[in-house]
């Protein structure tokens, strides 16, 4: 009888403990869209014809099948060119140039300035003559890519810009970076 009481109390306490314990957290794994076949839509923006083959090649490098509009597809890739410029100018001040920062004057050797950034201003020499300077030029490409499913629901969006000595190099860097970002975001 005593043994029976003991085992009963043990069973009761076990039941109570299991009832009071916090339930394990339920981890919700977001469902990744299964994308194996993508249709590439023609570009909006400058030089439309030049971009599409490069995007297709970049997609194929990450093992995504690119299909035509008429075929069954998992998603549509829409690209947009935000900036496509060859003559991006930067000013180079030659020689040791005194510049004014927010709190102190500094001497910089051949400083370089992007247009529009006005934080540091090269001072004119005390003679009043112009500071010797030159212009360097490069290209910049800024693109946005969107991936939507067949119903038009957005699956992924990202944008990127890159500067290079020539426009083809900048464009290639942007396309590769965006496709890589899409690949890692959607685990293609």
């Amino acid at each position: 009888m005593r043994i029976f009481r003991r085992s009963l109390s043990l069973a009761m306490s076990l039941l109570m403990m299991s009832g009071c314990a916090t339930p394990p957290p339920i981890t919700v794994v977001p469902e990744k869209p299964k994308i194996k076949r993508i249709t590439v839509q023609s570009l909006i923006g400058a030089n439309k014809a030049d971009f599409t083959p490069e995007i297709i090649a970049a997609l194929q490098r990450v093992s995504v099948a690119v299909v035509g509009k008429a075929e069954a597809t998992d998603a549509v890739l829409i690209s947009e060119v935000m900036n496509y410029k060859t003559g991006r100018k930067l000013l180079i001040y030659l020689g040791n140039t005194p510049v004014l920062s927010k709190d102190q004057a500094q001497m910089l050797s051949n400083p370089l300035y992007s247009s529009g950034s006005g934080q540091l201003i090269p001072q004119l020499p005390s003679t009043g003559g112009p500071v010797p300077r030159m212009v360097t030029e490069n290209a910049v490409v800024h693109m946005r890519m969107r991936l939507v499913d067949s119903t038009g629901k957005p699956l992924w969006i990202n944008e990127y810009s890159y500067e290079a000595l020539d426009i083809a190099q900048a464009r290639h860097a942007v396309i590769v970076a965006l496709i890589q970002a899409m690949k890692s975001a959607l685990l293609l």
Binding site: L94, V99, L112, S114, S117, Q119, M134, V135, T136, Q169
Partner: protein
């Protein structure tokens, strides 16, 4: 009458050009190589501002021959050579520029871009890092950081 006037003005122009040439030659003859180099350098910069890049290139080449250890002349020639598509001259001049001035911010920027084009990834990374250490322009700082991130992915 008009022909006579034109002839007179042409003659005047001829005399003026002759005087100018003599003045420049005379000045060059009396000056030291450093002074002559400085003269070519400033003429080169003036041509560059006028958009006469070929003449600017000739002048800057002359300046660099006379003053091979001048970092700012080498930088100017390197930048101009790059704009004219002469990549080898550009690389040589820009590298010469940082040899003689290890703090030449612009040289590191342009070299980093050039190395990226040549797919010399490690050299590009070194140049961007040095540029980041020296640069004071906020938007160019962001640009350099972005290039460094991109290069980390690009290296096979």
């Amino acid at each position: 009458m008009n022909a006579l006037r034109r002839a007179m003005s042409l003659k005047r122009l001829g005399i003026l050009s002759w005087l100018l040439v003599q003045g420049v030659l005379g000045a060059h003859a009396d000056s030291t190589p450093a002074e002559t180099a400085a003269m070519h350098y400033h003429e080169g910069l003036a041509y560059e501002r006028l958009g006469r890049l070929d003449q600017a290139y000739t002048k800057l080449q002359l300046a660099c021959v006379l003053q091979p250890n001048d970092a700012k002349m080498a930088l100017a020639l390197g930048v101009l050579a790059l704009r004219l598509g002469k990549e080898e001259v550009a690389q040589r001049s820009l590298e010469n520029s940082i040899i003689h001035d290890a703090n030449s911010i612009a040289s590191y920027y342009v070299l980093a871009m050039l190395y990226e084009k040549q797919k010399a990834w490690n050299r590009a990374i070194d140049s961007w890092n040095r540029f980041l250490e020296l640069n004071r322009d906020d938007s160019l700082k962001i640009e350099a950081q972005k290039h460094l991130r991109n290069l980390e992915v690009a290296i096979p």
